[in-house]
Symmetry: C2
Subunit: 308 residues, 2 copies
């Protein structure tokens, strides 16, 4: 699970920060990349990354502000040119379908793959053997949400010594045992997976929030996340601006991260009014509240480590 920040700015693009988008690569786990938000020029940022558009299988949009959606028509169109043929599922507010369909229609763009629009009106959006995705509502000028990805616990590692003691020699049978709760050997012995594996490997939890006024309401939902992505459009000194525009400050995000006992906080959607030095100074302060904080940077990546 690797997160790549494609656009970490807010509202308008600047030379250092494009408008909102990030990619969650799960190539090992699912051979898929998921996008979260797609501001204008997200496809351009992707050109400067190692992400392959044809691997993008799901796109999650947090809210309808232009800096989160204007890159969709171009990205979907180019993905078709680049022989992305598998379907793309798009999760987002109701009018997203209208925006995309009209953009494609007026431009006579015919995609070579299917677009499947998924509603986000129910909390649980997606679930399979590997993980589940839910949405939580956020407080912003217009309806906005966060997406919580929760990976399921997976089978612990096989214990070779235990297997040997049961007379099971290394071979294809190992994979069989790993994949099944119990396996009958040719001599009739039944091997129970629980007996020959270490403790389950805890699944990872990633919480990716859209634009939001700071609110304690989300704490229970993002609790214990391995990674929390929280907007910090403004620094603490500008909290009045944050209040006015339904955004958050770095300090507010840090306080929430602390209350929610997350492992890592990454601050995103940063106003371009701040110079690099301003943010470095701010970060020093913020780490006093929550040490595991960093500011997102365009085209930087963060790998979410699995336990065990």
């Amino acid at each position: 699970m690797e997160l790549t920040f494609l656009g970490t700015g807010s509202g308008v693009p600047s030379k250092m920060r494009n408008v909102s988008s990030l990619a969650l690569s799960m190539l090992q786990e699912r051979d898929e990349v998921w996008l979260f938000d797609c501001g204008e020029a997200t496809q351009h940022q992707i050109l400067h990354s190692s992400i392959k558009p044809r691997k993008i299988s799901k796109i999650f949009i947090t809210h309808m502000h232009g800096d989160h959606i204007f890159g969709l028509p171009g990205l979907l169109s180019s993905r078709s040119f680049q022989e992305g043929l598998n379907p793309v599922e798009i999760y987002g507010p109701p009018r997203l379908k209208e925006f995309i369909e009209i953009s494609l229609k007026v431009s006579e763009t015919r995609l070579k793959y299917d677009l499947i629009f998924k509603s986000i009106s129910q909390p649980k959006l997606f679930e399979d053997h590997h993980l589940s995705v839910s949405s939580i509502p956020l407080k912003h000028g217009i309806p906005s949400c966060g997406y919580i990805i929760e990976e399921k616990d997976s089978v612990g590692p096989l214990l070779p010594d235990k297997l040997k003691s049961l007379g099971v020699k290394p071979g294809p049978i190992y994979q069989n045992i790993k994949n099944n709760e119990k396996v009958r050997l040719s001599d009739g012995t039944i091997i129970y997976r629980d007996d020959v594996t270490g403790p389950p490997i805890k699944g990872r939890k990633v919480s990716i929030l859209g634009d939001t006024h700071a609110s304690d309401d989300i704490i229970e939902h993002v609790a214990d996340s391995d990674l929390l992505i929280h907007e910090a459009t403004f620094i603490h000194e500008d909290q009045e601006l944050a209040r006015k525009y339904f955004h958050s400050t770095s300090l507010q995000a840090a306080q929430i991260a602390k209350e929610a006992n997350v492992k890592q906080l990454i601050l995103n959607h940063i106003s371009s009014r701040y110079l690099h030095e301003d943010l470095q100074k701010e970060l020093k302060q913020i780490k006093q509240t929550f040490p595991n904080t960093i500011y997102a940077e365009d085209l930087s990546s963060y790998t979410i480590q699995k336990e065990g």
Copy 2:
């Protein structure tokens, strides 16, 4: 009159060439910048140029393909953030209004300035004391057009010797004489402008074409242009692809430039399949047909010199 190429690529953006847009700066003449086409990330390219979005007063769209229009919602929105308050006139195909209005509506974007949509169904689109703009239809998969800007001739330079011989000393009166066909001096003498100015300065003609299959039909309309911008998606060797996709080759563009007796040809909308070396080699060949040819490059500028 300075042309800046913001995107010289075709269809999809590449690292070297963004999708279609060019800016005609007429700051001296009109304190305005006009945009021709606005593919995705045009506003980003503008960040890397000296163009100020608030100076953009007219936008001309040649056709509805996504690589020519997907940058409009973001550019118009950011221009509003950046205190561009004077209206913007948008010329283009009928469904352009729908695309822009829906994009702004679904994203709850309220512009601080007026958008005025202008039809391109009549050949003469705009005219004032300075210049006129007309459109010509082009042959492409969908309706496409070119825009012809014709500057009017302007008054020749004042001849100081002639004025002195008539007893007119240098001063504010010079501007008065330049601005009026005849001026009565305080002593009753009438100065006729034609008597004291050199020959009129010929207005410039710039022809900016959208995507097109090569066609002799346009020759009469672009004849004698100071600058012709013609697409050359493909090189001569790939003329079958050009035919298939309703595009032109570099050689076809050069032949038209020659027939039309233009002064300078700039080849635009270049497929990213060609490396720099391929195009250099092609250009060498093309110049044998029409010497004053260059390939457009992203963020390069070309000043159209005025005669005299």
